[in-house]
C-alpha cells in the first residue's frame, strides 16, 4: 500500500495549461448560454461549437497527461484564494496527478465523442443551444470535480454535475415525467450530498484542512472511530451520486433525459464520481476497514439487485440503466476490497463500453423512430449494421467474455474481493461477496445478451421502417467500440501499473505472476465459464426458443411472481413512497395547516394589519406638501437647538 507510507511531499508543478481544461467548456457554456435565442437556421452551429470546446479541452488534457510524472508529482494551478475564515483557507486550486489525469482523459475524451454524437442525435431539437450549453457546463463541473485540489472545489463540481444532471434529465421539461425524474434525481442526490458535506466537516474539524495533499498526509492522525465516521459520511455522498443502495432509485428514472445525456452523465462520468472520490481519499479509507466492508457489501448488494431487475426490463435504456447501477456496484466492491486502482480501472472500461452501449441504444432508438421497447425491435443487424457491430463489441466487453475490456477489469475485481480480508461484524465475508459477484456476472452476461438478441436478432417486430444513423452518431460509437474490446488486452497492465500508488501491492504484479497462483487461475476459469454460460443461455432462450419464457411464465406461479417482482423493480419505489414520501406528506400537511397557516401567517398578517391600522391614523400627517414637511423639520431643528442650549 503505497498511499499509506508516503508523506506526499512530491513535486508540484504550477501549470497554466491546467486551468484551460475546465475553462474551455465553461467559456463554451457561457457563449451558448448567451446564444440560446439564436436564429433557427443557425442553431446547428451550437453543437459544433460545444464539440469544439470539448475537443480543445481534450487536446490540452492529452498534452498535460503525456507530461505527467511520478505518482507523487502533480500539475497544480492556483487561481486565487477563494475564501478564508478562521483557520480555514481555501484556494480555488486545480491539481492533476495520475489519478486525476486518467479521469480527466476519460471525461474529456468520452465527453468529446458524446458531444459529437449529440449533434446527430439532437439535430431535430429546437433548443439545441440550451442543450449544448448544459452539456458544456456539465463538462466544466465534472472537470472541476476531478481536478479540484481540495474537497470544497470538488464539492462545487459535485454540486455542479448534480445541477447539470437535473437540468438535462428534465431537458424536455414540457412533459411531466421528465421534470419529475429530474427532481427525483436532484432530491435523492441532496440526501447523499448532506452526508458528503458532513464528511467534509468532520475532516476539517479534526484535521484543519480540506486540501487533498495535506489530508493525505494528515489522516493518519485521526482516531479510528473518526476515520470510520468520516469515511462512512463521505460514502453516503458517493452512494447518492453513484446510485448505490438505497439511493439508486433516481438513476433508472434519469433515462428520461436525452440519450447522449444518459451516455455521458449517467453512465460514463458523473455516476463514477463517487468511485473517484473514494479513491481520491483512499488514504482515509484504508484506515477505516469497517467502512470499507460496508462499501463492499453495499456495492455487492447493489450489483446483484440491479442485475436481477435488469433481467426483466423491456425498455432498452432501462436495461442499460440497471446494468450501470450493477456495474457501479462492482466498482464499489473493488473499493471495498481496498483495490482502488481496480475500481478506477473498471470505471474507465465501463466508461468505454457503457457509453458505447448507450449511444448504440440511442442510435437504435432514433433508427426506430423513438421506440424504446425491445419487444418492438428485432433483426436490426441488417438495417443498422454499424450500430450492431458497436453494440456487439460493447456487449462482448461487458459480459466478461475473454479478452474484452470487462473481462480484465471485472476479473480483477473478483480476484481482489476474493483475496482480501473483508470483515463485517467479526465474520469474514469476502468469499460470500465473491460468490454473489460471480452470480451477478452470470446475470450480467445473461441480460446483456438478452438485450442484444431481442434488438438485433430475430424478426423485426416494429411498425416503422428502421434506418441507420448519420455518421456523426455512428463514428463515436465505433470509436468507442475499439477500446471496449481492446483496452484491457492492450493497456490493462500498464494501466494498473500507472495507478500503482492507488492499488494494492499484491495486485500490482503482472498477469503472468498472478497466473502462477493456482487459485487465481481457477477463479479466472470459473468466471470465464460463468460468462460463457450466461451468454449461451440467453442466446439459446432468446435466439432459438423465443417462446420459452412465455411458456415458463404461464407454467409456474413462482416464475410469474418473480417476473412481476423483477418487472416492478422489487417494488422499491413503492416502498420508498410508503415509508418516506407518504409520511412526509402527512406531516407536511399538518405542519402547513397548523404552523404555517395559523401561526406564521397569522403573525405576519396580524403585524401587517396592525401596521395598516396605525398607518391609517398616522397617514393624515402626510399632507404631501413639501412646505409642511419643511416646517416640521425646522421645528425639530429648533427643538434640538433649545434642548442643546438648555442642557
Amino acid at each position: 500500500m503505497n498511499i499509506l507510507g508516503s508523506t506526499l511531499t512530491g513535486q508540484v508543478t504550477e501549470n497554466l495549461l491546467l486551468v484551460l481544461i475546465p475553462l474551455f467548456p465553461l467559456v463554451g457554456a457561457a457563449l451558448l448560454g448567451v446564444a440560446v435565442g439564436i436564429r433557427e437556421d443557425r442553431r446547428w452551429q451550437a453543437g459544433w461549437a460545444a464539440t469544439l470546446f470539448a475537443v480543445c479541452s481534450f487536446v490540452v488534457t492529452v498534452k498535460l497527461f503525456l507530461g505527467i510524472g511520478d505518482a507523487q508529482e502533480a500539475f497544480r494551478y492556483t487561481a486565487w484564494r477563494w475564501f478564508e475564515s478562521g483557520q480555514l483557507s481555501v484556494a480555488l486550486a486545480l491539481r492533476m496527478d495520475r489519478l486525476a489525469g486518467v479521469m480527466t482523459l476519460v471525461v474529456t475524451g468520452v465527453g468529446s465523442l458524446i458531444h459529437l454524437y449529440a449533434i446527430g442525435y439532437m439535430h431535430e431539437d429546437e433548443s439545441r443551444p440550451r442543450f449544448f450549453c448544459y452539456l458544456n457546463l456539465f463538462l466544466f463541473a465534472m472537470l472541476l470535480l476531478v481536478l479540484g485540489e481540495n474537497l470544497l472545489v470538488m464539492f462545487v463540481g459535485w454540486e455542479g454535475v448534480g445541477l447539470c444532471s437535473y437540468l438535462l434529465i428534465g431537458f424536455w421539461y414540457r412533459e411531466m415525467p421528465n421534470a419529475d425524474a429530474g427532481q427525483k434525481a436532484f432530491v435523492v442526490n441532496r440526501i447523499g450530498d448532506a452526508g458528503f458535506l458532513l464528511g467534509i466537516f468532520v475532516l476539517f474539524w479534526n484535521l484543519g484542512t480540506v486540501s487533498f495533499p495535506e489530508l493525505q498526509g494528515l489522516v493518519g492522525q485521526l482516531p479510528p472511530y473518526l476515520a470510520e465516521t468520516a469515511a462512512l459520511l463521505l460514502f453516503v455522498g458517493a452512494v447518492g451520486k453513484s446510485a448505490q443502495i438505497p439511493l439508486f432509485v433516481w438513476l433508472p428514472d434519469a433515462m428520461a433525459g436525452p440519450t447522449p445525456v444518459s451516455a455521458l452523465i449517467h453512465a460514463a462520468t458523473m455516476v463514477t464520481a463517487g468511485v473517484y472520490m473514494v479513491t481520491r481519499l483512499g488514504a482515509l479509507y484504508v484506515l477505516a476497514p469497517t467502512a470499507l466492508a460496508v462499501i463492499a457489501v453495499v456495492g455487492t448488494a447493489t450489483a446483484l439487485l440491479a442485475a436481477t431487475i435488469a433481467l426483466a426490463q423491456n425498455d432498452i435504456k432501462k436495461v442499460l440503466a440497471y446494468s450501470t447501477v450493477s456495474q457501479l456496484g462492482y466498482m464499489f466492491m473493488a473499493l471495498g476490497a481496498a483495490a482502488f486502482s481496480n475500481g478506477i480501472y473498471h470505471v474507465v472500461t465501463h466508461a468505454f463500453f457503457k457509453a458505447c452501449l448507450f449511444m448504440a441504444a440511442g442510435s437504435v432508438i432514433v433508427g426506430c423512430h423513438h421506440e424504446q421497447d425491445m419487444r418492438h425491435y428485432g433483426g436490426l443487424r441488417k438495417s443498422m449494421p454499424l450500430t450492431f457491430l458497436a453494440y456487439l463489441a460493447a456487449t462482448y466487453a461487458i459480459t466478461g467474455l475473454p479478452f474484452g475490456a470487462g473481462f480484465f477489469s471485472k476479473d480483477a475485481i473478483l480476484w481482489a474481493v476474493y483475496s482480501h480480508e473483508i470483515v463485517l461484524f467479526g465474520t469474514p465475508i469476502n468469499r460470500v461477496l465473491w460468490g454473489v459477484g460471480l452470480f451477478t456476472a452470470f446475470l450480467t452476461a445473461f441480460y446483456m445478451t438478452r438485450s442484444l438478441m431481442m434488438t438485433f436478432f430475430g424478426e423485426y417486430r416494429g411498425h416503422e421502417h428502421p434506418h441507420e444513423s448519420p455518421w456523426t452518431m455512428t463514428t463515436p460509437i465505433l470509436i468507442l467500440a475499439v477500446p471496449s474490446l481492446a483496452f484491457g488486452f492492450l493497456f490493462g497492465e500498464e494501466f494498473l501499473h500507472f495507478l500503482a500508488a492507488w492499488g494494492r501491492e499484491d495486485l500490482n504484479v503482472g498477469h503472468a505472476v498472478l497466473a502462477e497462483n493456482a487459485t487465481y487461475h481457477l477463479l479466472e476459469m470459473i468466471s470465464m465459464g460463468i460468462a460463457v454460460a450466461g451468454v449461451a443461455l440467453a442466446a439459446f432462450i432468446y435466439g432459438l426458443q423465443p417462446r420459452l419464457v412465455d411458456s415458463l411464465l404461464r407454467a409456474a406461479a413462482v416464475c410469474r411472481g418473480v417476473h412481476r417482482a423483477l418487472l416492478n423493480k422489487w417494488w422499491i419505489d413503492e416502498l420508498y413512497d410508503a415509508l418516506i414520501v407518504a409520511p412526509l406528506r402527512k406531516v407536511s400537511a399538518v405542519l402547513f395547516s397548523v404552523l404555517d397557516r395559523a401561526l406564521i401567517d397569522g403573525t405576519v398578517n396580524g403585524t401587517a394589519l396592525f401596521m395598516a391600522a396605525n398607518g391609517e391614523i398616522v397617514r393624515r400627517m402626510h399632507t404631501g406638501r413639501v412646505s409642511s414637511y419643511a416646517m416640521v423639520l425646522f421645528a425639530g431643528t429648533i427643538a434640538a437647538i433649545i434642548f442643546w442650549i438648555v442642557l
Binding site: V618, R619, M621, H622, T623, G624, V626, S627, M631, F634
Partner: protein, 100 residues
C-alpha cells in the same frame, strides 16, 4: 461691533430669511432660490471665521459649497422642469401625490 460678529449676525439674518422663504413660499423656484440664500449665508459665516482664525480652509469649504450648489442647481432645476412637465405647475400645493 466686531467685524466677525457683524458677519455672523448678518449670516444669521440671511439664513433665517432663507428659511422663512422656504417655509412660506409656494413656488418651487422661489424655494430653490431661498435655499441658495441659506447656503450663501453659511458661506458668509465661513469666510468670516476663516478671516477670524487666519485659516484658509474656511474658504476652501466655501469653494466646495459653491460646487455642490452648482450641482444642486443643475439637478434641482431639472427636477423642477420634470415636475412642471408632469403637473403643469411648480407650486408645492399642486404637487402632492405623496399625500396620505
Amino acid at each position: 461691533m466686531e467685524v466677525t460678529q457683524f458677519y455672523l449676525v448678518l449670516g444669521a439674518v440671511l439664513f433665517t430669511l432663507g428659511t422663512l422663504g422656504v417655509l412660506i413660499r409656494r413656488n418651487t423656484i422661489v424655494i430653490f432660490m431661498c435655499i441658495e440664500l441659506m447656503l450663501n449665508s453659511v458661506n458668509l459665516t465661513m469666510v468670516a471665521l476663516s478671516r477670524q482664525f487666519g485659516e484658509v480652509s474656511g474658504q476652501v469649504f466655501v469653494f466646495f459649497v459653491m460646487a455642490v450648489a452648482a450641482a444642486e442647481a443643475a439637478v434641482g432645476l431639472a427636477i423642477i422642469m420634470t415636475a412642471f412637465r408632469n403637473y403643469h405647475s411648480v407650486r408645492t400645493t399642486d404637487v402632492h401625490d405623496l399625500a396620505g
